[in-house]
């Protein structure tokens, strides 16, 4: 068994799995079926193959930091999509079901592009060596199953909640994942030297190491970093605060009350 393959596939599946599982509960709540998911997976996989195939070109952009910039754009886009999905879940009437389907499809496809690209590039290193490739594929399958198990656990945990708790949990988790995307994207732009890098605000490595399983899970849910810079922490909190603020603002404008008339 190749431990590297297990860990890489597990990490990427975990990150996408948590997000996709919560979005599945949203789709389930609005009885949207699974066709959107099939489109999202197809689009995401095609996008990931194209991105992986052009990674050499992309990496040369902007004086060798193109990879960071493109990944940051993908993650900021996921955040914006999640923000709109949260608005929908909070029963803002101006977004149609069709718009929700598009948003769910786009978000899952972008998440897949972000996570699957790395897996494709990892496995491309074994092309021409069928024995190692086979071993890596088997190991990766174990990582995939472990990651999907966490996603399934997340999905059924939300689905088993009392109906009145489902919406707040969906909004809460999506807001956290979205804010984590902003923090990760900001970190990438710091890595690219597009944003200033300064000393970390705090250090929680002793309490929750990033490399540990709980640390990886925290990273998947809200982009946990043990040593965030003030910019990352500030943008994380700002992005997190945007969700309740926009929901409140939309409700104020539309004159809606907190008790909605939707499917519950």
């Amino acid at each position: 068994m190749l431990l590297d393959a297990v860990i890489i596939v597990l990490r990427e599946t975990l990150e996408a799995g948590v997000l996709v599982s919560v979005l599945l509960t949203v789709g389930n709540r609005y009885k949207l079926g699974l066709r959107w998911l099939a489109w999202a997976f197809s689009g995401g996989m095609v996008g990931a193959i194209i991105y992986a195939g052009n990674m050499g070109l992309v990496s040369h952009w902007f004086d060798y930091v193109g990879q960071e910039v493109v990944n940051a754009i993908i993650q900021y886009s996921i955040y914006l999509s999640l923000l709109l999905i949260c608005l929908f879940v909070a029963s803002i009437p101006r977004i149609s079901s069709r718009a929700l389907i598009y948003l769910l499809t786009l978000t899952v496809a972008l998440a897949l592009i972000r996570e699957a690209t790395e897996i494709i590039i990892f496995y491309s290193g074994f092309i021409g060596n069928s024995a190692v490739f086979s071993k890596a594929a088997t190991s990766g399958f174990i990582g995939l199953m472990l990651g999907l198990s966490v996603g399934a656990l997340c999905y059924f945990s939300i689905m088993s909640l009392k109906p009145r708790h489902v919406k707040p949990v969906q909004i809460g988790v999506l807001a956290l994942v979205g804010a984590g995307m902003v923090a990760q994207a900001t970190q990438l732009l710091i890595q690219a030297d597009w944003l200033p890098s300064v000393a970390p605000l705090w250090d929680t490595r002793e309490i929750l190491p990033e490399a540990s399983m709980p640390g990886q899970l925290a990273y998947a849910i809200f982009g946990y970093e043990a040593t965030p810079t003030p910019l990352e922490a500030g943008l994380f909190l700002g992005a997190l605060a945007c969700t309740p603020l926009l929901i409140a603002l939309s409700r104020f404008i539309s004159g809606k009350t907190l008790i909605e008339a939707r499917t519950q």
């Binding site: 431990l3 590297d4 890489i8 491309s124 290193g125 890595q191 190491p209 970093e225």
Partner: protein, 106 residues
């Protein structure tokens, strides 16, 4: 005026480039060379990583908060710092048992 502005911008660009310390790292046979990189404290550093292997690698460090895929036979840039004195391990995620190194900040 335009010439003056252009030359000022050029001087500024050279200054910024000169102010950033560049450190070269090579990946060969899934190992980092050098495996230990010594850099000054509180200084921004540009790591220029050449992957000499034909297979891809991912430069990763939890301590440095850095993660970047580097295709085979290609190079990549990763900016780190300013850092406090200490040791900051990094590894190649695609070969994490062999590709190990650390940045030592003095």
């Amino acid at each position: 005026m335009r010439v003056l502005l252009g030359s000022n911008l050029l001087c500024w660009a050279i200054f910024v480039e000169a102010a950033t310390l560049v450190v070269n790292i090579e990946i060969k046979a899934h190992l980092f060379y050098p495996a230990e990189v010594i850099v000054p404290a509180n200084t921004k550093v540009k790591l220029l990583i050449h992957n000499m292997d034909s297979s891809p690698e991912e430069f990763e460090s939890y301590e440095l908060n850095r993660e970047k895929v580097i295709l085979g036979n290609s190079k990549a840039v990763v900016f780190i710092g300013p850092l406090a004195p200490g040791e900051y391990p990094f590894f190649g995620e695609f070969n994490m048992t062999t590709a190990l190194g650390k940045v030592i900040v003095n």
